[in-house]
Amino acid sequence: MKRPTIAARLGVVLAVTAATGGLLVGCGSSGGPAASSGGNEPLRVSMDEACAAAAEESGDVNYVASTDPAVFAEEIAPFTAKHPDFKINYTNLRSDDASQRLLAEAQTRHALSFDALSGDLPGFDPLFQQDMVRNVDWPALGVADDLVVKQQNGTAWRNYRLITGLGYNSALVSKDQLPNTWKELADPKWAGKVIVDPRGSYLGGIALAYGEQETIDWFNDFMETTKPLIIQGATASAQKVISGEALLTTSAADANIRESHAAGAPIDIKYLDVVPTSDYHTVLMKDSPRPNKTACFVAWLASDEGAAQKAKLEFQNNDSNPPAVPPTSKLVLTDSPEALKTSTDTSTALAKIMSN
């Protein structure tokens, strides 16, 4: 009889491991929807009550945001000084990466890695859809009503309002030379000297003032006239303006510009006729085993002291009507599903124009 070949042996091994793989996929099939699907009674406690009840809860608070860990540690130092028994485990992740991780954990019935997350609301959308976000009575925790967003069964607190303007190299261009409106930016004198983000995300909000089609028409004109440099990300864009490679950037988030400006870099921001905004939120996970501890910590982040620390160290403010925006400019908000959809649809259309 012939000896079984290596192929035969390989076949056996493959069959065994394929069965294991089937188990991997099948494991999930025993259990219904991904996240816990029970009711989502609101967590209604004050900050003091949450902090008092926190003593009964075990474990550390696991918190996600996209700030540098060293900056974050400095930022929450006043809180940890007041609550030396609290340990905050911080992870630097974008909201979509954190959501993906939590979705995987929920599907495999694993304890959630994070108790609270900060980031952009669309990145949390799958978590809201799977009913994984806790319904928190934020005003009870001291958060102003206008900072609270309700989505499906969960709620979120707005922790930062990013405002977009025109970033410029203040050593090479004076503020007076700059355009006053986005439409004036479509001028041949800026040809090759202006930066745009390939995702269109900084400019989509303009559609809330101009209308979607008019914004697309303006953008086509702007692309044709100025032949901009397409650079992804606020940091890379700011770097090119500071170095003088470009004079202007349309991907100018106020916090980044002010942080670089404070470091002495020749960069500043001018707000044009329309000022798009992007809101960033914090959510608590419904299945967190330490809701009070988490609420106590997040309530501190939302307090005046927490907000001041964030403004000081991350240059991120949360004013509903940012004082830096002049009265001649129109602040456009993406604080409703309809506004968010218009902004996103327009950004997608702008991204497509750049891609082609």
Binding site: M1, R3, T5, I6, R9, L10, L14, A18, G21, L23, L24, V25, C27, G28, S29, G31, G32, P33, A34, N62, S66, T67, D68, P69, A73, N89, Y90, T91, N92, D96, Q100, L103, A104, E105, Q107, T108, H110, D125, G192, G200, G204, L229, I230, I231, Q232, T235, A236, Q239, K240, S243, G244, E245, A255, E259, S260, G264, S347, T348, A351, S355
Partner: protein, 586 residues
Amino acid sequence: MPPTAVATVAEPTVPVRRRRRRLTGRTVFMVVTIAVLVYLVLGPMLVLVVGSFQDTTIGLIVQPPIPWSAKNYADVLFNSALVDVLWTTFLFTAGSLAFAFVVSFGLSMLIERTDMPWSNLIFILVVAPSGIPTVILAISWSLMVNPTNGVVNVAVRDLFGLTSSTGPFNVYTVPWMILIQGMALVPLTFLLITASLRGMSNTLEDAGRASGAKNSVILRTITIPLLKPAIIGALVYQFVTVVSVLDIPLIIGRPGGVSVLSTKIYDASNPVVGLPNNGVASAYGVLLLVLSLAPLYVYNRIIRQSDAYVTVTGKGRMPTALKLGRWKPVALFLSFGYVAVSFLLPLVVLVWSSLQPYLGAFDVESLSRMTISAYQSVIHDSVFHRGLWNTFVLGVSASLIAMVISTAVSWIIVRTRSRYVTLLDVLAFMPHAFPGVVIGLATLFLYLLLPVPVYGTIWIIVLAMSTQFIGLGTRLTTGGIAQIQVGLEEASRISGGSGWQTTRYVLLPLLRPVIFNGLLVVFLASIQNLTLPLMLGTGDNTVMATLIYGRWFDGDGPGTAALGVVLTVVTLVMTLFLRRSSGARV
């Protein structure tokens, strides 16, 4: 003969005795190796296939109802924008591969086959750029050659009195993309070729020389043919690398409006808001895998004729250095010239950036702004020390695991004469074609399901990284083992040596250059990889790559550069250590 004419002859009923096969160490070794490989690769493969056939806009779903969809394939295959960029992709891929292989082969020959002085130093400096974060490399090049105020352009305009305010060079074009990507490919390609060259006896080349053949003839008819397994292995690997690479196309190509296939796939799988659509990336991964099957098949046919590439026999094999004579200064000029452009220039920009309060213009005025505040900020960051240690653990562990598995798999591929071993090689190569997010997601799900306590620790990243780089390890070890005459192992066994003794005293010593180069390439690739630590990271298993990403994302350019300098130093130290350990001439 018609069937009716067949005479039926009753066969004697001889009882068939099944021969009991003895479970040999060799069988156990092969089964265990294959099982480990399948275990590591099957999870990502399932996630790749399942992900490619589902709508992943709200994440990868493994519980019913699974949103099955063929849309991802439609998006990839019938996207007219993808077809538009095929020619640019071809130019970019072919150009950067040609550059990388010519430079790598030339430098390998000079360092390993000639008496060029300072060869060890040049070896280290050729490998060192892999320690510099790509984002910093790209910034360096744009600071030097951007059309507006790039240092080189300004100097050329001044020198020749050009009145134009832009140019004459523009880094945001295909030729510059080819050059920069080609240089980025050199360290790995160089290590893949060098390992084979160092392990190769020069007996045949000496014989050629003794018969009066010129060096060019020896190179063409002896050296290159003998290196065929290593060169083709490296080519297949780097082909997939270039087709899926994103850094240079996004940072250098995009500003100038140059798109390649990977840029388009990135756009298709990254909506303006919401989760990345990993389904599109998975469909692309499947297609990339299919594309690489043909070259892999050719590669395996070559490897199966391993006797033709044997140069390491029982006879003396100490390589003798070819005397360069009057060509020595030319060789040194070319080698150091390449090193200056590929490493020293970006390094100067990196160090300069780390000593600035912000990333500005690269000019004389910046000298007055120099500060060490970025280093102070980095060193006083408690996460930095943990990140540095985790990076070391990650690099060492992932490279050891990947190389142990790679050596075992390659031995089966080369020493087992079954035609089905091609399947094994495809299996080992697969992770390279998988998008990083697929391996990350698969590892995530696997260790959430299995009761193995690695989730949230550095070890889950080590396992994912080892899986990702088995394909890289086997490109080295398969070619290396093919060069060693099987008779040496047989002689050991006939002399009473056990399998382990043969491995320890015959195979591993002969493979030493290959293994040390492999450890180095996997170490460097692991500490640079960002996708897997981002997907599997927590506050406890932070590594340098995620710290660099965090600083950059947070707008801290000098901090990013300071961490880049640290990573470059780690790269230099490890390269030096492994170079010395591999028994190189010093």
